[in-house]
């Protein structure tokens, strides 16, 4: 009687997860491979390979990748500055707290903040135009574009990177640097042969996480661009609202495609994180 009773303890959780996480997702996945009559078909997934939908995926992937890569680089530079750059201690703690806030400051308000700053009458736009005579618009910058969205996403991407990579940088032992140096290695050799290989799984894993994070971001994109930029989450949002694709099952395939992309990114993240944790045990 022991075993069934033990399982009873996690039953509420499993039922909840089944009903509100797994079944809804399965429903979409299955719907992606069904026609309206409920028969199996690959037509919906094939339907994704039309130029307009592929373009939406492509720009989504590019924005996510760009914001993930830039987020990784800038976040790494800031974390490295704090951990290894010999900055005073009072910089570190506020930076980490701020990162906690900023990584959660996504969605609609974030879009407003960037419109108020880099929009047509935003603080920086106006300042550059009136004080320095630089017209961002004539230089080709538009907040409602690839780079505008990327720049906005960085506001939560960089802090997320800082939060994840700071512990990894803390994990680099001083003795490794000293051991390398006493064995004759230069600072560059230490970084290329020891520090970066040790950090590599964390770096690449975090890149995958940031990618998935940006790829699934709906609210920021909608509040920023309305529907003027055709990225996958906006397309899916419009499809759920009003079947803009004219085929509900193509909508499921669109959602299924999102799961596949974020799923791949997160699998890489989890796999690489497990690897780096094994080393740093």
């Amino acid at each position: 009687m022991r075993l069934p009773l033990d399982w009873l303890g996690v039953a509420p959780f499993l039922i909840f997860a089944l009903l509100f996480l797994i079944l809804p997702t399965m429903n979409i996945v299955i719907g992606a491979f069904q026609n309206p009559a409920g028969e199996f078909t690959l037509k919906n997934v094939q339907g994704l390979f039309t130029p307009s939908i592929m373009a939406a995926y492509w720009i989504s992937i590019r924005i996510s990748l760009a914001s993930a890569i830039l987020g990784c680089i800038v976040g790494f530079a800031m974390a490295a500055a704090v951990v290894l750059g010999g900055l005073p201690n009072w910089v570190r703690s506020p930076l980490l707290t701020f990162s906690g806030v900023a990584s959660n400051f996504a969605g609609v308000p974030l879009a407003f903040a960037f419109i108020a700053t880099l929009g047509p009458i935003g603080l920086v736009t106006v300042f550059l135009r009136t004080q320095l005579g630089i017209d961002l618009r004539s230089l080709g910058f538009n907040l409602l574009s690839f780079w505008g969205l990327t720049l906005t996403y960085l506001f939560f991407q960089i802090p997320l990177m800082i939060l994840i990579i700071t512990p990894a940088l803390d994990g680099l032992k001083r003795e490794w640097r000293e051991a390398a140096s006493i064995l004759g290695a230069t600072g560059r050799q230490y970084w290329t042969m020891i520090a970066l290989p040790i950090l590599f799984p964390s770096l690449l894993g975090t890149l995958a996480l940031l990618f998935a994070n940006a790829f699934g971001a709906v609210a920021t994109a909608i509040a920023l661009t309305g529907s003027s930029l055709s990225i996958v989450p906006i397309l899916l949002f419009a499809q759920i609202r009003g079947d803009v694709l004219g085929d509900p099952h193509l909508g499921y395939a669109l959602a299924f495609g999102m799961i596949v992309v974020t799923g791949i990114a997160n699998t890489i993240y989890i796999w690489l994180r497990a690897r780096s944790e094994r080393w740093l045990k």
């Binding site: 797994i22 079944l23 969605g107 499921y252 999102m258 997160n266």
Partner: protein
């Protein structure tokens, strides 16, 4: 030299973060022509739609937190106590909401719980509210579970349970009076994070058509100029407040071993 680059990186980064915050704050004060004023804030705060949606979202956040605690604390406790072999699988499930985009999950809800399904939650306002709360609980699951599980790691669950049982306590008593107080700090960290997530959440509420704060902000943003900036400042203040509260409660984190009464 290294120090110079370190300062350069941090200052350059902080400039990027401060400018949008400065931009939205400055913009929110510019409603009256020529002078800075709090007109945009007054207008927003006086808007009955603001009050309604904000109250609604606060209510949803509280309901989500309560539901999350009742669901997750016993589960995490039970897994640690009796089913440690199950831990990796439960942990995997709790991380799924990070993998599956929220928009996909809510899409599934709409399909699965429509008026003609076995559980027609979207058929009534109350039903949809409950569905939305479950959705929020799902979004908060990775953070809440992690927080509670970390809290449980610091106490000896098995010994505490056996000690309580030897004194005649039942399961409800053990959970409510021994386990929960011991992981309270962790639970509160998770709760504040949940609050921050729910208050500004847009996708779920918009697609389930509920009058929440997130969709209200988006609607206002599409139609007004200065009020959205004021809303952004308010939303940022709320997020900051939640994080500050997490920092405050975390100070109490390494608590003395539990006392049985």
């Amino acid at each position: 030299m290294r120090k110079f680059w370190a300062w350069a990186a941090v200052i350059f980064g902080m400039l990027y973060f401060i400018l949008p915050l400065l931009g939205m704050t400055e913009f929110s004060l510019k409603m009256r022509r020529g002078v800075y004023s709090f007109d945009a804030y007054a207008k927003v705060l006086a808007d009955p739609r603001f009050q309604e949606t904000f109250a609604y979202s606060v209510g949803m956040a509280i309901a989500t937190i309560i539901f999350g605690v009742v669901l997750i604390v016993p589960t995490a406790y039970w897994v640690r106590l009796r089913l440690p072999g199950l831990r990796p699988y439960i942990e995997f499930i709790t991380l799924l909401p990070l993998v599956i985009p929220a928009i996909v999950i809510v899409f599934g809800y709409i399909r699965l719980y429509n008026t003609s399904s076995f559980l027609p939650l979207t058929g009534s306002a109350t039903g949809t509210n409950i569905l939305l709360m479950f959705g929020y609980a799902t979004l908060a699951l990775p953070y809440m579970y992690r927080a509670v599980d970390t809290g449980l790691r610091t106490i000896d669950v098995g010994t505490l349970t056996e000690a309580a049982q030897s004194l005649g306590a039942g399961w409800i008593t053990i959970l409510a009076r021994i386990i929960l107080p011991n992981v309270l700090v962790a639970v509160m960290s998770g709760a504040f994070l949940t609050f921050a997530i729910v208050i500004g959440e847009f996708t779920l509420a918009a697609l389930l058509n509920r009058p929440a704060f997130g969709p209200y902000m988006q609607l206002l943003g599409a139609n007004r100029a200065y009020e959205p900036a004021a809303l952004a400042v308010i939303a940022f203040a709320i997020t900051w407040g939640c994080m500050a509260l997490i920092q405050v409660v975390s100070r109490f984190a390494p608590r003395a071993p539990a006392q049985l009464h």
